[in-house]
Symmetry: D3
Subunit: 310 residues, 6 copies
């Protein structure tokens, strides 16, 4: 069984029970989420072992996160309880103002999760893992979080990364670009990204061109997500495009993490990249059909059943 | 900022939480609605000031309506509390027997709202407003409501009207026809209608032909709604067709009011009729995605965001 | 098995899911209720057969009522569908402005149920029944409803009556007094009432004094409800007081109907009046613990279990 | 009015309120279901009288079933209460792992319903009915249930059957095949089935070929369901294909029973098979739009309204 | 009609739908709250006009607050939208770990509301109002908020104050003590407080003693709340104790604000302090029976009805 | 940290969202429960380490149980997945027919959990634990479960036991008596029981007398629960009675397990029996205030806070 480490901030998600502008939403449904936590759960469902390096507050939401992730089989022994700050949360506004899309409203500034730092990165954990994963979100959290990623990537056997540029978390896009390119310098085995982020990072959108440029930056394998159209995978020796499955969307949040976690876990375990992408895309198709980012992640057998059925 | 006055009955809507025949629906969700109240909210969201002339009962539902509309920015200083009758209500049965359509069951006979009359129409309010709006529903409420519309239209600078023929509210279609044609005699600047109502009123369905005939009756600008297909606008010097947006429908109730309120507010403020229709159609696309007739009305910026996204 | 007939209006109840003033209640829960319908269900649970004479509208709510009552074992073959008017409904505001009490907001004026009349009273049904039951509510519904009660009481073997004076349904209390005293003239075997109604009817509140006066008016057996304190039963040869059970109140609506239906069914079947009252009070204690007027009516074995447990 | 008898197990359905894997579903919604109970309700809605032969436990769920079916107009005088075993139940997992499909998790082994037997089959009921209906599910319940079907089919005037092969209920598919072919020997007037079941029974999938083979086995009329594509009907003298209606799916469970009950009731009443299939397909289109297998069954007028609208 | 001004932070409240530790609460119900906003609504219900000086974020929650307060009749023309920070929110954990009590978890650090400052205090509004109200919470929000209170109190005709010491918002209790005593220096007409806060401020708990000491600090009238026991009022010339009403508690949050707003509005309007306290205590008894801090605030007539009923 | 082992069947609980007879309950809320699982969680909250020996089905409910218990910190490495049978479930009917009490309806016959047997009892786990716990429920599950308890008790260092006689699970009370007395023969360190069970086991109810008799059977310490009155603890050298806390009851299920798990964990860790009982009674007071048997279990600090507050 492959072992992964992810570094990032787990969050409590308050998802609007009814669609439309939040001011008229009366009820919110609580979930555990956060890009790297989602990644870990997806990887676990796909058969890997995944440890999360993170901080949560000494509060009910922090305990909620730890219990949920432990229940899902994620290794939480490196999730620290930081009594100095609250656990980060965010709200999800669904289907407004664009049906099929969600808008995220964060209350995570100064959160416990943003205070993660290099001291939380256990070198023996890193060196024993097959790969370390992080995202552009973690780079944006705080200076200490950024340094934690650098420490982890510097010591990792292999690195996987999801660009995940959230403009609201950065002072400007140039800062995002710099921070992410810095991290790509370590050499990334699997990069997960999309045309919007690639436009910011490299000034191009075209898949082939993007792959060529990312390769020059040391990326081995590229998963290039085209949203509702599907996704490409490029690897040393080939490329493959997978149509997205046509499904009704309840909340698209978490779809990208599903692709990342599922693909990385399978691919690094030796599964053919085409098949890994097929299953990852199936996993993400199930995630968008429910509220919550990771509850509908399938087992590989269930993902397979979906691929056969449609 | 343009100022509008609408005359009609605000209602409490009890919307089925689950689809199907009402007898098996266990829970109902309360909303504030009514065609002219929806119009006022849509106009307000689009940037106008809108006063509602109406009556509500001296009861919790009446207070509910006043508080909600005031919260939404509608001028409720001309909404009178009538202790002699209850506030009107209605139930919404969704997706049965036709998926995507709703059926309305009214409890509004003899309601406070139907007792609105000419005395409720403040002439100084009317004369200071840029336009007065009403609908075929108000004409059908009661004799006094009908006379109130005549008084208001008689004194108004400009008039806008939505035909909104609800057969259940009329003794027969001929009565509806007579009452509406009577009102068109005042000269209507913007008429909002559709082929079904036009068939009743003029015996034609074709958009061009309808516009020609309405013009002869003194209509300046015509918004001609074709439901899930889209809508036309005809004006002195041009016409324009806008495709409807393809969205999942939770409850189509209120979509027409969204078009009317949004279009009238923008168009009378000087916005190009094409752009006004585009935004009005976007507004109505958001309204049908939720329960409640007016909570999902967007700001112009949000409507624009939707138009760009799809 | 004893056979009863009840005459009155079944209604759809919309019960506030959350307590407090209705204007801030977002969700309502649908139930089938109405004093005489509740009586029939209570009598059925207590082992009697009960036929309801009534009208409902030709609408989903009318069908809801018929299906529910038939499901509960009530004979609905004399419930007519009247296409000329809607089924009556009402809302329940709970715990406001007095915790533990409910306020009812009716939409039943001109309802199908209020159009019940003498022609709906099947003489062969009446003459074959052991007793006929009605209430002060039915007398207040309409002139035709009042006449229907007179016809039924005139032809009945035995009569039971619940005074149930709802001031909102009467022009004035004198009218209520006259109408009820008129009906008592037929000779009532079991009268169910309380000090408030008795004050209106006879000008007294004291239980003993009330019984003496009601006896003079031809009442055989008196059930005299003292709300949260308990209830008396007076009969030819004795009297008995039963403490109410101390239970948490969710909605007291329907408690009186539970006492009436349960007591009448048992007592007329020959059960000792003390035991009949004990079980009837237990039944009403369960009814107040839930929303809905009749769902928590127990079987006699369950009522017994409650009496033993407390 | 035509009279039908159905033999099978009514069940309590616990339907997931939210989609996705059951382990993350917090709330379940209770419904009354079961293939033959659904058939009876559909037939009743289509204008037939339908008696159900069945057993339920002496528990709240058993009482729930009896009250609900009686409310819906089904004759429940042959539903026995069996105190020796609990009422069967099942859970519905929706949209996982295949969006648009449901997975059923049964708790019905040894249930009261599975203990139905030949003694429960009242010969006078059978001989007075126009037709007797059962399904492959009843054959699989128990040996006594299987014998009950044989007794009923042996004494019936006419027979209708829905193959409904649920692999989880059979030791192996050969057993299902044997049991169903045994029952077809009685001569079936209307057989309802689909390509998957026909593959198991006859080794063919093609509609025409299936009809030819079923005819040889004594089937008069064949309804051949192709799921989301539509359905065929073959009869002596013709065939007809009806496209399915394009509707959003909440839970497809019960769609097949809707087709069977609606078609059989109409067709045996003399309705043209084309029109019977049209209405049956419309009925099933409404059923899949809601949770619960039979609440959204339309009246023929409502089914017609749907056909006209789309 | 008396006119009041309140200065403080309105918040969005996320109230646990089910009791117990938050980590197992799946659903939260949204309300508008905040001590001074609650005060304004209570005062408005009691017949006063109340303006709120505050800031909210340029987000859905900020718009929610403005619309709700405007709907309730609060003057929101001095609520500024501050695009530089989010609207503050908090969660309510109910009945854990002490049944009948609630625990508040704030996400308000650096919120728009905490950025209120002296520039937001419109001197002409202050000077035209009959009294200005604030609380210990506002003093704790930020330095600018503290200065805003000083400016407002310095310019006010009369001052009312609720000590409301929330230890979590202060660096230490000495800071709270200093800040509050500073403000009392302006001379407070009505002070609302309790033994816990008085222990911190003056080192005493006894009501009489507290009143003596507060008088020396310039307080005219003292409302001294003893929680579930009741409340005292002391004024120049008398004192009065009112028992609390015995009611079931859903969430006690907001009870103190109800007392403050209701008492201040009535008392400053000239109502006898005894009667003002009676009604204020009745108002608070209704508030604790529901989730949400201000929805169950009664009209004076409703409060009276409650006092008579119990 | 003390280490415990519990042996028994974890179950999925479907708790009625609304009170009253189950047939009218529309929604059920899912929880993880089962007496020994509750014990483990209570012990874990009280500071112990607890391993559960059990089986669950290879289904969503089984996975639900494992994930939840792992999340709560219970050692689930000895919970086996048994593909041969489904996970056991039960329904909770609340407040009917006795307010304040719950009725359990099991679907656990032949469940995976009942198939636990001696082979599932890992001798090295047993010998390394400080104590082994089981209950009368486990003894009743099956012959193999009974033998598993004997094996575990035979090899355990110390034994704790909760009599928990559920008549529905036993052929007769004599069988329960025999099975439990057999197990007491191993020598039980802490016995948790009540007067009803003791009447069955020993023919006495009086606390002192019960303790005397249990002592003769080798019991060291006795926790004797008197329901809503409180509980005794008897130990070598003393006895102590603790009043129950007066709290509103939502669902009393799980209260006894809370007492057992909390008391055993604290007492075996060396806490004074009086204090252990105080905290255990506080824990159980929180459990009865919510649906779900173990979500409201407090930390010792929270239990302490409750004891101080009341």
């Amino acid at each position: 069984m492959i072992s992964l480490v992810a570094l990032g901030e787990p969050l409590i998600q308050l998802n609007a029970v009814t669609p439309g502008p939040l001011r008229y939403v009366a009820y919110f449904e609580k979930h555990v989420a956060g890009s790297e936590a989602n990644f870990c759960i997806a990887a676990t469902m796909a058969g890997a072992r995944c440890s999360l390096i993170a901080r949560v507050g000494d509060d009910e939401f922090g305990r909620n996160i730890v219990e949920y992730l432990r229940g899902r089989g994620v290794d939480v022994s490196h999730v620290k309880v930081d009594p100095g700050a609250p656990t980060g949360i965010y709200f999800v506004q669904r289907h407004f103002p664009v049906p099929g899309r969600s808008r995220l409203i964060y209350y995570r500034k100064g959160s416990a999760g943003s205070r993660v730092g290099p001291d939380d990165v256990d070198s023996s954990l890193i060196s024993s893992a097959d790969a370390v994963h992080s995202t552009g979100i973690t780079l944006a959290l705080s200076d200490s979080a950024n340094r934690a990623v650098h420490k982890a990537f510097g010591e990792a056997k292999r690195r996987t990364f999801d660009t995940n540029i959230r403009p609201a978390l950065w002072p400007d896009l140039a800062a995002a670009r710099r921070a992410i390119l810095d991290v790509l310098n370590y050499g990334v085995d699997v990069l997960v990204t999309d045309p919007d982020d690639t436009q910011i990072l490299l000034g191009v959108r075209d898949p082939e061109e993007a792959y060529r440029k990312y390769r020059e930056l040391g990326v081995q394998t590229l998963v290039y997500k085209l949203g509702a159209e599907g996704a490409y995978v490029f690897w040393n020796g080939g490329s493959y495009f997978r149509d997205a499955l046509k499904v009704a969307v309840e909340d698209p949040t978490g779809a990208g993490d599903a692709v990342a976690g599922y693909f990385v876990a399978l691919y690094l375990s030796g599964v053919d990249p085409r098949r890994a992408l097929d299953l990852a895309v199936a996993a993400s198709a199930l995630v968008v059909g429910v509220r919550g980012d990771n509850e509908a992640l399938p087992s590989p057998r269930e993902a397979e059943e979906l691929l056969k059925a449609l």
